[in-house]
Symmetry: C2
Subunit: 333 residues, 2 copies
DNA sequence: CAACAGTCTGGGAACGTTCACAGACTGGAA
DNA sequence: TTCCAGTCTGTGAACGTTCCCAGACTGTTG
């Protein structure tokens, strides 16, 4: 009794055939206005909902896309950016009646599962998040030839996996210039991991502006965590006690750096200016509030979805998109 | 040529019938060891992967669960807790080979979409996140009689939607007691919205301990945002300038309160002690670092999944789960 | 030796769609 | 009038599974 109505029921109520109902559903050409109206009325009347499984079975399309989170487990607590990305993607896809399946790829078992899932034909496309350099899963996906895009470049696979991202390099330049214009003479940096695009490009931007003044001594590498910001800052102070500014490649690490500076008795920004990156929620809760670089994260997510949809719709090739960042001046620099 | 192998191909290679292959796949009784081995060998050999659509079509089961995010759009940027929840859920479900579909329910259109999706039989269960009091979508879900659970109580529907949550009330008591033991005499609070379980129960816990001393004058309502923490604190100071402690129902709001206190020239914790709630990443980046209440968020997510799986497996009724919180003493109180 | 319970296998039917094709009906052009 | 192109409709077949039933084969029991 609680059995859900099928296309047959609709056909019966509307007084037409299965075929005609199907044509209305997929708004094909060649349906008379009368039939169209009758079918739509019947659908509304009996509350018909198409069975996607049956449809997928014959069309070989699933109406879903899988989002793969590659961040290793320990880090995941700290980054508040995922929520925005996920929500934006879900909404944009929903506009097209495509649903978003989440998968994590923290270890090899996870990655195999993703591959199996995709190879099993359970998704029309793949949305990669925070993929690391040299990830074999990416190659497998390319091999399967499923539409795939990434938010943030996939290092070493930029030519096969299109992506959307913020302009990390120019953002880093903006911040570095800002520090120079504020009269800072000895500017250090704490980078992200050098197997991530943000890690690499934000350092490049820093070096672009500083040229030869960006000496080895003034560079420390972090791993995006607050803790690595703390320890990186400590090493910098030890090596170059007279630095008067530091560009930290993420707000969270910058929060760590601030703690170290405070503990060392350095005043911010009086003694040392601190610049962050991301404009995440952390930037406002530090003392002093962080001068940072805002990434248009929602826009980036939206563009990534756009690329993916284009590929799914059959585009041979799509161009990656880089969106501009903006300097947000607060009190730390 | 690139056609994926089907159960027929497996049967042919293994020299058995479709039926036997299917039995092996679903490890039914009554399969001879020889047949079993032959089938498994064939599957491995030709790289067969079961087609879930075909399976779902006959079993009426989808092997997926939908997670519904109900937070309205403006807020979503601020809460870093979602990532943890999502990942934990995805991993636990993956253990059972169930995939997680994300949907947002920010407005009525979204909510209708969720209903349609569920009514369409596209999910075996529903995982509710941050649902608000009086949400009609919840009633619709109950009506459909699909297994549904929530992370955090669904106000007014506690008896029909089982949930897992942290012990908000006891957590609030822990913090309030801590403030009293520190010798504070005039303790105020900034609550969450009173249509959320956290808003209600953290205030109750506060009142439990303070009894008649929890006067109206010492209570302000916020909406979980940093800004509401700032303004709430400002109103409290105006009304009760001699308060010497404040329990803020979330770390993020506490960060806002700290800013207001600083601007008003109050020292923390010397003049005013500040207690937060959540132990989110914000708690460590404030100055001073926040004394707060830790919620076992990953455990809560895990329990929620467990409840959902039990319901999906046919349990008539499952008991909601409340997990203990823990006081984390840092410098703000 | 007959009867029977238990184990195992094969194959038809069904799940709810889309697709391709055949054919009916229109109206206008030759 | 005849033909044809265009529009519209119905139906059989297919998609890849699971389910169920019939039946074959074992070994045990009376």
């Amino acid at each position: 009794m609680a059995k859900r109505p099928t296309i047959h029921d609709v056909a019966a109520v509307a007084g037409v055939s299965r075929g005609t109902v199907s044509r209305v559903l997929n708004d094909d050409r060649y349906v008379s206005p009368a039939a169209n109206a009758a079918v739509r009325r019947a659908i509304a009347e009996i509350g018909y909902i198409v069975n996607r499984n049956a449809r997928s079975l014959v069309t070989q399309r699933t109406g879903s896309v899988v989002m793969v989170l590659s961040e290793p487990h320990e880090k995941l607590f700290e980054d508040p950016n995922y929520s925005v990305t996920i929500r934006t993607a879900v909404r944009r896809l929903a506009d097209r009646d495509i649903s978003l399946v989440m998968m994590v790829a923290g270890d090899d078992g996870d990655r195999d599962r993703v591959i199996r899932y995709v190879r099993g034909g359970h998704a029309d496309g793949v949305f990669l998040l925070s993929t690391h350099a040299g990830d074999r899963m990416v190659d497998a996906l390319v091999d399967i030839a499923i539409p795939a895009v990434a938010l943030g470049a996939v290092i070493g696979r930029e030519s096969v996996i299109p992506h959307a991202a913020a302009d990390d390099r120019e953002g880093a330049r903006q911040m570095t210039r800002h520090l120079i214009e504020a009269g800072r003479k000895k500017i250090a940096t704490i980078t992200g991991p050098m197997d991530t695009p943000g890690g690499i490009q934000r350092l490049e931007g820093f070096a672009d502006v500083l040229g030869r003044k960006a000496s080895r001594k003034l560079i420390e590498h972090g791993d995006w965590t607050r803790l690595s910001g703390e320890s990186g800052m400590a090493r910098l102070l030890e090596r170059t006690p007279d630095l008067d500014a530091v560009f930290v490649a993420s707000d969270l690490m910058a929060a760590g750096a601030l703690a170290t500076l405070r503990a060392a008795g350095r005043r911010v920004p009086d003694d040392v200016a601190v610049g962050g990156f991301d404009d995440s929620s952390v930037a406002l809760s530090t003392h002093p509030p962080l001068t940072t670089i805002r990434q248009p994260l929602a826009d980036v997510a939206e563009e990534t979805v756009r690329l993916l949809l284009a590929l799914i719709d059959g585009a041979e090739h799509v161009e990656s998109v880089i969106l501009p960042t903006r300097l947000i001046v607060r009190e730390s620099a």
